[in-house]
């Protein structure tokens, strides 16, 4: 990336809605193919799940988010009972970073995205 983008938000720097659309397909595919975490996605409707992944990526990209920490908590409660823990959360963040790397996003911006994703850890894991 060249030039100065200091006034642009993270969401804008990443490319906004179009970037989310490009990322969600790659990201969800990585997650489903990842043996460490894919059992948590068995039996879910893929279109619904992809929409949720998109909402998550939009939030992690610094874009508009209209769901609360409590929503995250409720949404993952069943998975926590199935054994969802920090290692699985780390695996998801790893897949997210790999997705962005594949899309040519700079390490600095990936760090910012990972930091936003990190803010959901306690809610996702029901801590």
């Amino acid at each position: 990336m060249t030039g100065t983008t200091t006034n642009a938000t993270l969401f804008e720097q990443l490319g906004g809605e179009a970037a989310v659309n490009a990322a969600v397909d790659i990201f969800y595919r990585k997650v489903l193919a990842d043996y460490r975490i894919n059992r948590f996605f068995d039996g879910v409707d893929m279109d619904t799940q992809a929409a949720k992944q998109k909402a998550f990526l939009t939030m992690a990209f610094g874009g508009p988010a209209n769901y609360s920490g409590q929503d995250m908590r409720n949404g993952h409660a069943k998975l926590v009972k199935m054994g969802l823990d920090d290692s699985h959360f780390d695996a998801v963040v790893e897949n997210l970073a790999a997705t962005l790397t594949e899309l040519g996003v700079s390490a600095e911006l990936i760090g910012q995205v990972a930091a936003i994703a990190e803010t959901t850890r306690a809610d996702v894991l029901g801590k």
């Binding site: 949720k52 909402a55 209209n66």
Partner: protein, 324 residues
């Protein structure tokens, strides 16, 4: 200011208000989630005017063609009459004009609507018997000027509706049917795209409609691969017709698959979905249609996606979703 008609009621939007906010402000019960065009929970359909393009971001082409839109993104430019998906039920009458066996347990049924109708081959309609028993069936033919509809009806041993079709329904009788629904149909505009169609049993019906729509109506140029699966050869009930199609259209390929014993080299041994997805391990840019047993469809959807097909390019038999 525009008017939104929803069911029997009409509401006025306030400046730049979305359809969703107008309905919520008037205490209408409509589903919604993110209010940002992401979750698609507030999917609705316009029954008259085409919705603003902006309100169709992220929808499938088939949904766009049918004027579906996201209520949370829709600031209407004109008055609109809107409904929730699949609630606009009205019934039309049709006469049975042909009935014959395609195999020992599959019946071909042709109806002629008494009114003009709009549909895409591969969509489904609900068929209703006089006493109110309803079953949904996919449309196996392409649109014609005679307002005809063709179905492949599998006779189930204890099927209340299918047994009645087999034993009692005769040419000349009348059935009612609902408007065509579902997004499992051919989409215009990408004539070079490769298509993969996998069907088991009478899941072939919508695929047969889609294939003919692609080849004869839209002159599809890309490769079209059909895999039809059955336990034994008697279930490959359109073998002759499909083989003839391969001779007419060089870009159409038909692979009949048998999961049971195979005694003839023209058949491939194995499950249709396994054979198809092994043959084409890279599905980037493909469009995929999956119709048949729910386990097969759901499993194949995941596999096709992992092999590179975009979720928006995977179309499945809509029966699965509504579970009638």
């Amino acid at each position: 200011m525009t008017r939104i008609k929803f069911g029997e009621q009409t509401f006025e939007t306030e400046n730049n208000e979305t359809v969703l906010n107008t309905l919520l402000r008037n205490n209408m019960q409509v589903p919604y989630g993110c209010k940002a065009g992401v979750c698609q929970c507030c999917l609705m359909r316009s029954l008259d005017n085409a919705p603003p393009e902006k309100s169709q971001i992220g929808l499938k082409d088939t949904q766009k063609n049918q004027d579906y839109f996201l209520a949370c993104l829709c600031e209407p430019e004109n008055d609109m009459s809107v409904s929730l998906p699949n609630t606009e039920i009205s019934w039309l009458d049709a006469e049975v004009i042909e009935k014959k066996n395609l195999s020992t347990n599959v019946i071909f049924l042709k109806l002629k609507s008494k009114e003009p109708l709009a549909f895409f081959a591969g969509q489904f309609v609900n068929l209703r018997r006089d006493d109110g028993v309803i079953r949904s069936y996919s449309i196996a033919n392409i649109h014609n000027a005679e307002h005809e509809l063709e179905f492949h009806i599998r006779i189930l041993p204890n099927g209340q509706f299918s047994r009645w079709v087999a034993d009692e329904l005769t040419v000349g009788m009348t059935l009612s049917f609902s408007h065509a629904q579902g997004d499992c149909h051919y989409v215009e505009g990408k004539t070079e795209q490769s298509l993969l169609l996998i069907g088991t049993g009478t899941g072939l019906a919508p695929l047969y409609g889609i294939i003919r729509d692609a080849l004869s109506t839209h002159k599809h140029q890309g490769e079209i691969h059909l895999f039809h699966g059955s336990h034994d050869a008697s279930g490959l009930y359109l073998e002759d017709k499909l083989t003839t199609l391969t001779q007419i259209y060089p870009n159409f390929h038909y692979t009949p698959c048998l999961s049971g014993e195979v005694n003839d080299e023209k058949y491939t041994q194995g499950r249709a979905n396994d054979i198809a997805l092994q043959k084409f391990p890279k599905l980037d840019g493909w469009r995929v249609y999956l119709c048949g047993r729910p386990e097969m469809v759901l499993h194949s959807k995941r596999t096709a996606y992992l092999q590179g097909a975009s979720l928006k390019e995977i179309y499945v038999d809509a029966h699965l979703l509504i579970k009638i």
